[in-house]
C-alpha cells in the first residue's frame, strides 16, 4: 500500500493505493475453468494518532488494487498517519506515512 498525504487548505488530503487482487469469487480461472475463491479487502481504516479519521467498508465491486482518497481536519505537516486494511481471509496490513 502506498500513501500520499499532504496538507492543503488546513485539511490533510490522503490518497492511498493498496495492492490487492480483490477477487470477487465470481471469476473463473481461464486455464482450469474453476472459480477463483473470493479474497477482497473488507475494511480500510486510517488513524491519525489514536483517532480513527476514516473507515471504509468494501464489497466485491471495488476495483483490483483499491484506490481511495479522503481528507480530514486537525492534522499538521510532519504528523503520522497509519492505514490498515483487513481482507476476507482476515489478512491485514498496516502502512504508515508522514503528512507532507
Amino acid at each position: 500500500m502506498k500513501i500520499k498525504a499532504k496538507i492543503r487548505r488546513d485539511m490533510a488530503v490522503v490518497k492511498a493505493l493498496a495492492k490487492h487482487p480483490m477477487e470477487t469469487g465470481l471469476r473463473k480461472d481461464k486455464k482450469t475453468d474453476k472459480l477463483i475463491p473470493a479474497k477482497f479487502i473488507k475494511e480500510l481504516v486510517c488513524k491519525h494518532g489514536d483517532k480513527v479519521v476514516y473507515h471504509a467498508d468494501f464489497g466485491r465491486s471495488v476495483s483490483k488494487n483499491p484506490y481511495v482518497a479522503f481528507s480530514f481536519a486537525g492534522a499538521k505537516k510532519g504528523d503520522n498517519i497509519a492505514m490498515t486494511w483487513t481482507d476476507s481471509d482476515e489478512e491485514t496490513l498496516t502502512v504508515e506515512a508522514v503528512i507532507k
Binding site: 465470481l26 473488507k42 476514516y54 471504509a56 467498508d57 482518497a69 490498515t84 498496516t94 502502512v95 508522514v98
Partner: protein
C-alpha cells in the same frame, strides 16, 4: 496536466524514502462489516445497512462518475456534499451481483468527500447515499460500460 505530472514525478522519486512501516496488527475492533455487502438487491442492502429503504433525492450531492466508462474494471467515483453532520456515505451499483460497493463511516472532522475506483459489470445506475443528521439522501447517475475494441 503537465504541472500535475511534474509534481507526480517529484513524488515518484521521493516515494521510496517515504517512511512506510509494515506491521501485522490485530484486526481493529470497528463497526462490524455489514451483511449488506452480500445482499443481491439495492433495497435489501439499504435495509441491512441502514434499517430502512427510504431515501430522499437530493441533487446537491455531487456524484462524479463518468457517463461512459473507459474501463468497466476501473471506474473512478467521487461523492461529495456540502451537507453538515454527514456520518456515512455509501455507493451502490444496481446491476452488480452485490450492489453495495463501499460504505464510508466519517468521524467528525473528516470531509464528506470520498473517492474510490469501482467495477461495473455492465451499463447501469450508480447511486450514492449520504447519511446526514440521521436522514438518508441520494442521487444517482447512469453509467454506460462499453466493451472494448482494440485499446483495452
Amino acid at each position: 496536466m503537465r504541472k500535475n505530472r511534474r509534481l507526480l514525478l517529484k513524488s515518484l522519486l521521493g516515494i521510496t524514502t517515504m517512511a512506510t512501516a509494515m506491521t501485522a496488527m490485530p484486526r481493529l475492533a470497528m463497526a462490524k462489516w455489514s451483511k449488506a455487502f452480500d445482499s443481491s438487491s439495492v433495497d435489501d442492502a439499504l435495509d441491512d445497512l441502514y434499517g430502512t429503504t427510504e431515501l430522499t433525492t437530493d441533487d446537491t450531492i455531487t456524484l462524479k462518475i463518468p457517463e461512459i466508462a473507459e474501463n468497466g474494471a476501473v471506474v473512478p467515483v467521487t461523492v461529495k456534499t456540502k451537507m453538515d453532520n454527514v456520518t456515512k456515505i455509501s455507493i451502490f451499483a444496481e446491476k452488480n451481483p452485490q450492489p453495495l460497493a463501499a460504505s464510508f463511516t466519517l468521524p467528525e472532522g473528516t470531509a464528506p468527500n470520498v473517492s474510490i475506483r469501482i467495477r461495473l459489470g455492465e451499463s447501469q445506475i450508480v447511486k450514492a447515499v449520504v447519511e446526514a443528521d440521521g436522514k438518508l439522501y441520494t442521487t444517482e447517475q447512469e453509467v454506460k460500460v462499453t466493451i472494448g475494441g482494440c485499446g483495452g
